[in-house]
């Protein structure tokens, strides 16, 4: 891994004011509103939020997989010196899968049911590295061995339905790392798996990440995954970034009331708590956001200014940003 100073200086991925608007009929819905974050080389950023907070849209926008007919992307996504938002489609295609790849949530559906495992892993290899049939097959077997699939040679000729969910997710990971990309976007890679498999997949990802020196954007709603896996965290709410800091700062002393609320929702098994705590209210509809802070209607600290002006994501401490006019006190300790 690179020295911290250098990796901080030139982040691999630098997202500035990324905004995604969806057109539906005459209306436009802002799914992501001026989201900014950096991912240093070889590090892991956890992107956390509830359903509908814009995590997956962020991932698809970074990959430029949103149909331009429906979505309008603004802002800057600087990846390894190039602005992906402005890149022509043909060049973007050479980046996808080669330097930047994605792991999808559902291993059941993200593999083609009628193509063999081997052929599917060979696809990115043949597309990007121009490997021949034989060379691609050998490399595919190597990749399967890397993701710890037993008997890789035999698996090459099997079809997705012959594998378990965990195995399929390993195949998906093998496809994602096939060309040794610099960044992997993992969109809830463990959500569809059972708990023991989740742990194995996370271990595998961590192992591959340190071996190949990849950076990962880990999108999840599971704070446990973030605590274990990420270096930095960006918390999202209703399409906006509300808090961003190193993982220990976010978990140790969250400053945004929403993050604090999320952490309080984690059941505390050895404490004296006998009821699960939730956050009252629901995520506002993106078509009908309140004028000020989107969290204000549910926030116990909200005051008049919160309901009028949208707070910016500003530094509340060194390397700790929160979008809140009345952040939580620093002293507050919430253990995950």
């Amino acid at each position: 891994m690179m020295p911290a100073a250098l990796s901080e200086a030139t982040p691999l991925l630098s997202v500035r004011d990324l905004t995604v608007r969806f057109r539906s009929g005459r209306e436009t819905v802002t799914a992501i509103d001026r989201v900014s974050f950096d991912v240093p080389r070889g590090r892991v950023l956890g992107l956390v939020g509830e359903s509908g907070s814009g995590k997956s849209v962020t991932a698809l926008a970074l990959m430029r997989l949103l149909s331009p007919d429906m979505a309008e992307i603004a802002g800057e996504v600087r990846f390894d010196g190039r602005d992906l938002v402005a890149l022509p489609e043909g060049e973007m295609r050479r980046v996808r899968g080669r330097h930047l790849s994605m792991i999808f949530q559902e291993p059941m559906t993200s593999l083609n049911p009628i193509a063999s495992i081997g052929n599917q892993i060979c696809e990115p290899l043949r597309l990007h590295l121009g490997l021949g049939r034989k060379a691609a097959r050998d490399r595919a077997a190597e990749l399967l061995a890397m993701v710890a699939i037993p008997e890789p040679r035999r698996r090459l000729d099997q079809y997705p339905h012959e594998l378990s969910g965990g195995m399929r997710q390993r195949v998906v990971i093998a496809m994602a790392i096939a060309c040794e990309p610099r960044l992997i976007i993992a969109d809830e890679p463990t959500t569809a798996l059972d708990v023991t498999t989740q742990a194995q997949i996370l271990d595998l990802l961590r192992d591959l990440q340190s071996r190949l020196g990849m950076a990962i954007v880990m999108i999840t709603h599971d704070l446990g995954v973030v605590a274990e896996f990420a270096d930095h965290v960006q918390v999202m709410y209703a399409g906006r970034g509300v808090e961003r800091a190193a993982v220990r700062d976010v978990f140790g002393h969250p400053r945004h009331p929403y993050t604090g609320g999320l952490l309080r929702c984690i059941p505390d098994f050895d404490g004296d708590q006998d009821r699960l705590v939730g956050i009252d209210g629901t995520v506002p509809s993106l078509t009908n956001l309140p004028p000020g802070c989107a969290y204000a209607p549910r926030c116990e600290r909200a005051q008049d200014d919160c309901r009028i002006v949208v707070p910016d994501l500003e530094a509340v401490a060194p390397a700790h940003r929160a979008a809140c006019f009345h952040p939580l006190e620093f002293a507050r300790e919430v253990s995950p």
């Binding site: 007919d69 295609r93 996808r96 949530q105 559906t109 993200s110 083609n112 193509a115 696809e123 990007h128």
Partner: protein, 283 residues
């Protein structure tokens, strides 16, 4: 569990077997046919088939109004029926599949234009189109193929469009885009292979439709002009003599039924074999 009387393997073997015999007959018609199908003989007019009273082994299936040997005419007629049936199916299948893939994958305005055009074309009567085209171009095997091929594309377009639309939203298609596949790559590598099994079944069944349509057009005088030996023509000639010489209409009618039956058998067998829900049991 008790096996069904007609399993998919039985259907495929029976259908393909009969079709193969008919195809061989069509290919080797000059060697198989006992007579020239256009050879007229006034003394041997309207002879009944060998198995009826007054029939002889000289003309196994009897003769028609001009004394032409019916068996020979049927054998030669199978050439036209099969050629037109298969070629027009291939034409409409290609047109429809391309249109459906394009409309389904692109969506938006392309979809609107292509699918509304298919709707409009479906509302237009086939027979009328056939009359217009034969009147303009004249009756020939090629024109028949064009007429039938062009009037059948909407079935495929709708089918492929629907499948493509749903496949496009599947996450393995998104995944293919995420590792750098181009639109064309995704369509040909990931969408088309999934459409093909369904397409095969529909296309097979469509051959039977096309053969029937060809017979119907010939029957109406819109196919190949009369002396030509086609099943539809023979059937049309037999209609005038349905009481005096019923074998003319019966034999040609039975030939059509036999082909359509075997094609349908094959198509249904294939559907059972290729249906993912039924798969696994017999593979």
């Amino acid at each position: 569990m008790r096996r069904r009387l007609f399993g998919k393997r039985f259907k495929i073997v029976l259908g393909a077997g009969i079709l193969l015999c008919i195809c061989l007959a069509a290919i080797f018609a000059p060697y198989l046919a006992p007579y020239d199908p256009y050879q007229q003989s006034l003394v041997r007019r309207l002879k009944p088939p060998a198995f009826m009273d007054g029939g002889s082994l000289r003309n196994l299936l009897g003769t028609d109004n001009y004394g032409r040997d019916l068996l020979s005419r049927l054998i030669y007629g199978s050439r036209i029926s099969i050629l037109v049936g298969v070629a027009s199916m291939a034409l409409s299948c290609t047109l429809g599949t391309v249109a459906g893939l394009f409309a389904g994958f692109k969506g938006g305005r392309v979809e609107q234009v292509v699918m509304r055009f298919a709707d409009a074309h479906s509302a237009f009567p086939d027979i009328l189109l056939a009359i217009i085209m034969t009147a303009a171009l004249g009756g020939s095997a090629l024109n028949l193929i064009l007429v039938l091929g062009i009037s059948g594309w909407m079935v495929y377009a709708r089918l492929v469009f629907g499948l493509t639309r749903s496949l496009r939203e599947r996450s393995f298609v998104e995944a293919a885009a995420s590792y750098g596949g181009s639109d064309r790559y995704i369509v040909f590598r990931h969408i088309l292979p999934q459409v093909v099994p369904v397409l095969t079944v529909v296309a097979t069944l469509q051959v039977a439709q096309m053969i029937l349509q060809e017979a119907a057009l010939s029957f109406l005088g819109l196919g190949l002009p009369p002396p030509a030996a086609t099943w539809g023509n023979i059937l049309a000639e037999g209609r005038d003599r349905l009481f005096g010489a019923p074998w003319i209409a019966h034999t040609s009618g039975l030939a059509i039924i036999l082909v359509v039956f075997s094609v349908n058998m094959l198509g249904n067998g294939l559907r059972e074999a290729l249906d993912p829900k039924a798969a696994g049991a017999g593979r």
